[in-house]
Structures are given as structure tokens and as C-alpha cells.
């Protein structure tokens, strides 16, 4: 873990300020699943990202936290729509990179996982019902990091949404797989140490390939 993190820190475009693409590269290094994606430098238009569509195009910058609110995300694009979406993004966010990803289809609810630092107790992780309504549902469970697989399973069992892991309406979501993801997240949060501030993986969805993280934000602390 530490070797991966050192290399990742060293490779960041802006030290201590990873963008979505860089966070997802780190998650992929940790064997967590993210959609196939490619980051384009400011102004560049690509018609052939190197994977099949449909596509998602988003602005990709550590400065833009709420990209959906700022018209920074275009979904479900064919090849031609991709070009115009990229043009729009470059016009709206001059000087910012863009991220093209494969649009993933999924089954069941969106989940969220994340991490924060509690002032008294240190790094903690969370899992819960995700998506844009996550703060309305408030269906989340917290634990201190790091944690083991059993404890991660108990976090899921605490959620109101837990029946979706038990065959509710024919959904076959894999609780053990999501627990495994949480364990990895908790180790990441722990290993980042004093550099860690906040992490959001939202949404995380169940796909034919398993749990996949569609959006990721990692905020680090300036070295003091």
C-alpha cells in the first residue's frame, strides 16, 4: 500500500491535489473497479477514446467539486455527441482537463462509501445509500479505519437498505464484495495518514463485472 501511495503522490499533476482521473487510477491500483476512462488535456478533442461507448464526458479538475451543478457532466453520449460535449466542456471550463469514460449500466441502488477524520477519534469510513439523495436518506454507518471484513459486513447490516443484499425484489447485490471494497477503502484512508482529509466514492453501483465506483473525490491536507 505505501509503495503504491508514494508512487501515486509523486505522479500527481498538482502535488496534493488529485483530480478524479488520478483518484480513480489509485483506486484501480488497489484493485477496485472503475469504468474505463481517459483524461484529455485542456482543449483536446478525441473521437476515439480507446473503448466502446456509450460515453460519459466530465470536466476533470481538483478545483471543481460540484461538477454536476455546474453543467460539467454529460451522460450517455454517442461518438458525435461526445465531440460536442467535449467542445462544450472546454468552452465552459477553459484550461481544465476532461475525462471520458465508458457509460456503465447497473442494477439496483446507488451506494456511497467515504472517509473523514474525526477530530477525537481519527480516520473513519462510511458506507450507505448513495446517489444525489444520500444526504436526504441519511442511511449510513460509520466505523474507525482500518477495519476487517466482518466489521464491514456489520456496517452493511446496519443500513435500512440492507435487504437489497438479501434478494429483495430479486436483486442479487453482493454484500461480501462491497464489504471487501470497504476494507480496502479503510486501509487506504489509514495508510494516507496525516495527508488524508476527505474521501467520497459516490455512486458505487452493481454491474455485471461487480461493484464499480462511478465517481470519486479525494481531498488531501496541505502538509503542515
Amino acid at each position: 500500500m505505501n509503495a503504491i501511495l508514494d508512487k501515486w503522490h509523486a505522479g500527481l499533476t498538482e502535488a496534493g491535489r488529485p483530480d478524479e482521473y488520478e483518484v480513480k487510477c489509485l483506486l484501480a491500483e488497489l484493485r477496485l473497479r472503475v469504468p474505463p476512462g481517459r483524461r484529455l488535456p485542456p482543449g483536446e478533442i478525441s473521437v476515439a477514446p480507446g473503448f466502446a461507448g456509450p460515453f460519459v464526458a466530465k470536466v476533470c479538475s481538483p478545483d471543481i467539486v460540484h461538477k454536476t451543478d455546474l453543467q460539467g457532466v454529460y451522460l450517455n453520449l454517442g461518438p458525435e455527441e461526445l465531440v460536442s460535449a467535449l467542445q462544450n466542456l472546454h468552452a465552459t471550463f477553459p484550461g481544465a482537463c476532461t475525462l471520458i469514460e465508458q457509460m456503465v449500466s447497473f442494477e439496483g441502488p446507488e451506494m456511497i462509501a467515504g472517509g473523514i477524520v474525526d477530530p477525537g477519534l481519527g480516520p473513519a469510513v462510511m458506507v450507505g445509500a448513495g446517489g444525489i439523495l444520500t444526504e436526504i436518506h441519511q442511511d449510513v454507518a460509520f466505523r474507525l479505519a482500518p477495519l476487517d471484513h466482518d466489521e464491514a459486513g456489520r456496517m452493511l447490516a446496519e443500513l435500512k437498505i440492507y435487504p437489497v443484499f438479501q434478494g429483495f425484489r430479486g436483486l442479487g447485490l453482493d454484500a461480501a464484495g462491497l464489504a471487501g471494497l470497504l476494507v480496502t477503502v479503510s486501509r487506504l484512508v489509514d495508510a494516507l495518514g496525516p495527508a488524508f482529509d476527505q474521501l467520497d466514492l459516490n455512486p458505487i453501483v452493481w454491474t455485471t463485472q461487480g461493484w464499480m465506483i462511478l465517481d470519486a473525490k479525494l481531498m488531501l491536507r496541505a502538509k503542515s
Partner: protein, 469 residues
Amino acid sequence: MTADPPELQRLFNPKAIAVIGASNRPGNIGGIIFERLMPSLRKLYPVHPRETHIMGYAAFSEVTALPDGIDVAIVATGAAAAVSATEACAARGIPFLIIVAGGFGETGTGGARLEARLKRVVAHSASRILGPNSLGIFIPAERLDTIFVEHGDKALSRGGGVAFITQSGSVGVEALGLASNTGYGMRAFVGLGNKCDLDELDFLDYFGRDPDTACLAFYLESIEHGRRFLDRARQVTPHKPVIVLKAGRTPSGARAVSSHTGRLAGMDAVVSGALRQYGIQRVMDDEELCDASKSLSMLPPAPGPRVAVLTPAGGFGVMCADYVEADHRGTPLTMARLQPETVRRIRDATFPFAACENPVDLTASADDAMFGRSLDALLLDDGVDIVICTAFFAPPAISDSLIREIADRARKSPKPVITFTQYGPFTDLYLRRFHDAGVVGFPSISRAVRAARFLVERARILAALEGRP
């Protein structure tokens, strides 16, 4: 620095105690404490600059005049005098000081300066300090009581298994009051006060290992050395329940929270998750702290979540079923499905026409023996994990013998039996009688059902600690 548990033995079982600031003047706090200590049959040494005798004991004019071998000095003067007295006690090598005086860090900068001097005493001597601003300690079994607030100690003289450790004096007095009203078995009471030295970590370790402690209850506004407290609590929770009321729920960090996770951490969701992770049972208010510690110190963990309700009063039974099935804060209960054999046993013991659904309503025609034999049947049923009895004394054939009928069975049962009782102005009296008979009782249905959840939660903690699903 954490005190060795054997070392704290001297604090909780001292042979010789000095009370600094004890006076014959009525209402004097040192005097009240001194009087409280007289039945403890320890050697007592009052210290007062002018009075020569305190309640018949020869007084010492100053700390330097005290003999050797004093285990505990209780400092009951004003704040400034308390600091000098503490310094003098430390110089005399007195190992434990209980500083009752307030007027320290809780009052502002002047008080904080005085408290800093106490911390210097701790740093530069072998003496350990409880407080300042501490309500003191109370060990019923040792008849050792340094609490100057009236707290109905006669009711507590039987003692019990709860180590009650509180940062707030008033919450402590409430628990003690509850104890004297309705029964509550206390092994020890510790008023932490401002925690300038000894803190919850010391007492967690001590009572965690104390064979006479069945359960630890903490009221805390701040958790010192958060992770260490959790780690040490996990050493205790496999052996005995640890319950925490963490008051002062503050937003998680003043830092800007730009993440969903940060906003969802809200008031203190992290604390709740962390306590659960380490096998600690969290409660949200004073009443719940007392109810949980009372239940967990006296009753076994519930083997499962299935509740049977036995009542001679239909209304209470129906309400009980509602509470069992209602919002559960993460610990669901269910109404047990009674086995045919159980139904047959209850009908044999009562009336052929008895309604033996759960809740089992024996109706107002029931008598004490019917209630007892029906309780037997429920406890024998493999599908029942917990029994809640509503002890209602109004029916004509129900008498005070119902207490014994329930107690005889509850005390022997490996399954928890919880009692609800409500009988107008006599409610507290009956609760006390149940408590004295070894039965856990509550004056409301919702509290009885909530107690069942604590026992289910405890069983789940034990299962998790042992790696069971």
C-alpha cells in the same frame, strides 16, 4: 499516565483518610463528608486550621501535622486553599487526593491557572488526583462514601454490580437517586470532575478487572485519548458490558466539509459507529444510562430477539407488542410464536379458554400461581428468548406473592425476564420490592422493551467479538 489497577485499590479501600476542610459548622461540605465517612470504620483525620475537635475526632491544624500512612486525602476547601493543601499532601507522600472543590478550569482563566498547579503536583510527585470538581467516590460494599450531596444511601447499602463513572456530578446524583427510589445495584460510584489526572481510562481498567463489577457505565462529555479508551474497552467488553453516554454531540470537526461523507458524519455518527465497533453500548440520555446498566448488570444476554409477553391486563400486552415490533434503532425484536406445547401448558395452568396468543393475556381472573406456571411454560419454550412480565396488581386474585412467583423463576432463568409494573402511587415501592427480590423492573412498557434491546445488543456484541455471525 494511567494508574496501575492494583494501585487504585488504595483509593477504593483506604485504611486511613484525611478530610481537609472538615468543620463542625452546619452545612460545611468537609463536615458533611467527614460525617458520611464515620460509618466506614476507617481511621479518619480531620484537618482544620482552628477547630480542635471535629465530631469528636481530634483535628489537625495543618497537613504537615498529619501522621504517616494516610491513603486518601479529601480536599473540601475553596479552590485556592485546595491547591496549597494538595501541594502539602503530595509533599507528605499521600498517594490519593480527591479534590471536591470547584472553581478550577470550569470557571475561566483564574481557575485554569489553579488547575495547572494541580497538574504540576501530579507531574512532580507520586500523588494521584481525582478531580478537581469531583463529587467523590462511593463504594456501598465498603460503606465508603465521600459524596456530600444527599443521595439516599440506605437504599444502596445492598450494593450491586454497576461501576458508575461520571464526569457530571448532577447526572451522578440522579443515578443515585433513581437507585434509592426504585433499586439499582451499584458496585462503585466515581465522580470524575475535571479529570486533571485520573480519568475514565484509569477506571475502565480498574473496574474492567474488578471481580465484583458486572457492568461499567460512563457519563462522558469528552473521551480522553479516544482510541486508547476504545482499545482498552475492547479488552473489557468480552467479559462485561461497557455502556457510554457521550453527551455534548458536536459537529464532526470545524473544518470545511465539502464531501457527502463529511456532511453525513453530522453531529456524531462517527462516535456511534466507533463505540459499536469496539463493543461498547451507547445510550443517549441519563435515564437510558441507568436503565441499561441496571439491566445489563443483573440479567444475562438475550439468546435471541424473540419476546414473549405475559400479562393479566390486555392493554399493557398490546402496547408491549407494539413497542416490540416498532422502531428499533438497529436492534430489532420480534414477538415470539408460541409452540403448541406451550399453549397447552398455559391452558392447563389457567383456563381452557385462555387466549394463548403472544401477548399471553391471562385476564383479570388470573391469580399468582397461574401467572407463575404460565411463566414456566414461556421460559421452557425454545422459541422464546426473552419474557416481559407485566406485573399488574389490581386484579382481585393477584397479590404481593406475584413478586415471589416472578422472582423465583427470573433469578434461575438463563433467559432474561424483565418486569413492567405500574400501580399508581405504589409504583416505585413495587419496583423496589422487585429489585430487592432480584428482578429488573421498569415503570413503563417502553423502558421494559428497551431493556430487552440492550440484552439483545449485548448478545450480538459477544457474538461479534467471538467472530460469530
